[in-house]
């Protein structure tokens, strides 16, 4: 479980986050949504310790991250896996070497044990056999899956995904979403996902927080999205006529079924 309380962050005169508090539960896919510039990425960087908040706290199962020593922060970070928007794979390394890097850095396992673990993670993301390919030789969707494999190789308790579907076609986006939700349940991780993708919101949003201009504007789950009255959230989620029509049709269908 990750609990954030009263997070505020400014860059110079510009306030990016204002008093954001919430709890992200283990075994659930927690979504942070909002328009570009709403502070999602900054919030994620604060939660992962890549940025320091002006005020506020981040607790990982009761441990206040910013009150820990630099060494303890590093140890805690080994419990964190992160999938970056651009995958952040090391270009000079093969897929296998990329996934093995955290093990080489921190695990005392033998070479064979490490290789077995890498192969298990690659199979888990349906990339068995891609070990010797370089990031430049694989597609965007495959890069994301390698990123997920690398993120879970050390059995993290917390998984952060920054825009996992950006730049992917709808079918590949669904594959990535399914993978994230399966992994979250399988390993009982606390998963936090920044996303713009409406399909993800409707499919995997077990908990959703909506940021608007750096303020937590709404909090709920996917079942509440259709009936939401928050104007900012409505105009964000149902931005196009197509999505408004889809919402109305879905509401009618639910009403008929009742």
């Amino acid at each position: 479980m990750i609990e954030i309380s009263n997070i505020t962050k400014s860059f110079g005169e510009q306030r990016v986050l204002t008093d954001v508090s919430t709890v992200f539960e283990a075994g659930k896919t927690n979504l942070v949504i909002g328009i570009s510039g709403s502070g999602k990425t900054v919030l994620m960087k604060i939660m992962t310790g890549l940025m320091t908040p002006d005020t506020g706290k981040v607790h990982f199962n009761g441990r206040d991250f910013f009150a820990l020593s630099r060494n303890d922060q590093k140890n805690l970070r080994r419990e964190i896996g992160m999938l970056f928007q651009g995958s952040a794979l090391f270009d000079s390394m093969t897929v296998e070497e990329n996934v093995m890097l955290p093990l080489n850095m921190f695990s005392n396992a033998t070479k064979k044990e490490k290789l077995d673990r890498v192969n298990f993670c690659l199979e888990r993301v349906n990339l068995a056999g891609a070990n010797k390919k370089f990031p430049g030789e694989i597609s965007g969707g495959m890069k994301k899956r390698v990123g997920i494999a690398r993120a879970i190789v050390l059995n993290p308790k917390y998984l952060f995904c920054d825009e996992p579907n950006s730049g992917l076609d709808p079918r590949t986006s669904i594959v990535i979403d399914d993978l994230i939700i399966e992994i979250t349940r399988e390993f009982n991780m606390t998963t936090i996902i920044n996303t713009h993708d409406m399909n993800s919101v409707m499919e995997i949003g077990e908990k959703i927080i909506f940021l608007y201009k750096g303020v937590k504007d709404w909090e709920g789950d996917k079942s509440q999205i259709l009936d939401v009255t928050d104007e900012n959230l409505n105009s964000f989620i149902f931005a196009s006529d197509f999505l408004k029509d889809a919402r109305d049709a879905l509401k009618e269908k639910i009403a008929r079924n009742k």
Binding site: G49, K74, R78, F84, A88, F90, P102, N104, M105
Partner: protein, 250 residues
């Protein structure tokens, strides 16, 4: 006032970066591997250009020295070798090599680290719990401090050999005089000074370039700017350090 503030901000960030480099690595094996990879890139990768440039610099220095001494009755022709040797050991080998490497290695370090920063690879390492200052920067600086003095020694030798080749191609001077000149009035301190300079310059070039790349913010334009700034500031500080070392030690 604003410029002074920026200067102190950069100095502070630079010193913090250097301090954080000295933390115990999580796994020595990974650091050794990265160190040897960098030594190969910086040292072996630059050997050819250093060799080529220094041979020509030595040859040109010999030809031009010979031209200036031509017809001078009171200066023996063996002084060509002496002047070439001293010019190369004192100045051309360490300083010229550092300036060449500021362009080749400096821009490469800054753009490599800058790209890693922009594509979030450094963030990825941070989140894994890796001390990136130690893993990415210390390995590069140590690799540079080990390999650049070796390149400088190669440059000194090949520069003097370049002078020998130029002399052997000239009908006006004999190679025997050149060799006699090289051996004349030799003081081992000259070589010590060359190595003091080369260690200092290698630290300057690598640390400034790593700093510029590591703290890049933005995209490809900023990486280009950081790369250019790495070369410019490295050259300026190398020349400044050259003057300071010469003033203090000579």
């Amino acid at each position: 006032m604003k410029i002074e503030f920026k200067l102190f901000e950069h100095l502070g960030k630079f010193l913090i970066m250097i301090r954080r480099m000295f933390s115990r690595p999580a796994r020595w094996e990974m650091y050794w591997r990265e160190l040897f990879r960098q030594m190969n890139d910086i040292g072996v990768g630059s050997a050819f250009i250093v060799l080529l440039v220094s041979i020509f610099i030595g040859a040109v220095t010999a030809v031009q020295t010979a031209y200036q001494l031509y017809g001078t009755p009171f200066v023996p022709s063996s002084y060509i070798g002496l002047i070439v040797r001293n010019t190369i050991i004192f100045e051309l080998a360490p300083t010229f090599t550092a300036l060449i490497l500021a362009g080749k290695v400096g821009s490469n370090l800054a753009s490599e680290l800058g790209s890693m920063r922009v594509t979030e690879q450094i963030d990825a390492l941070e989140i894994m719990g890796v001390n990136t200052e130690s893993y990415l920067i210390a390995t590069r600086i140590i690799a540079a401090v080990i390999t650049i003095p070796v390149l400088v020694a190669i440059a000194a030798y090949s520069g003097i050999m370049g002078g020998y080749i130029a002399t052997s191609l000239s009908s006006n001077y004999s190679t025997e005089d050149y060799v006699r000149g090289i051996r004349m009035l030799f003081d081992p301190f000259d070589v010590q000074l060359m190595f003091i300079k080369s260690f200092t310059f290698s630290f300057i070039v690598s640390s400034i370039s790593c700093y510029m790349g590591y703290y890049v913010k933005g995209g490809s334009v900023e990486i280009g700017k950081a790369s250019t700034q790495a070369v410019v500031y490295s050259c300026i500080f190398v020349l400044l350090a050259d003057y300071v070392i010469a003033s203090l030690l000579l």
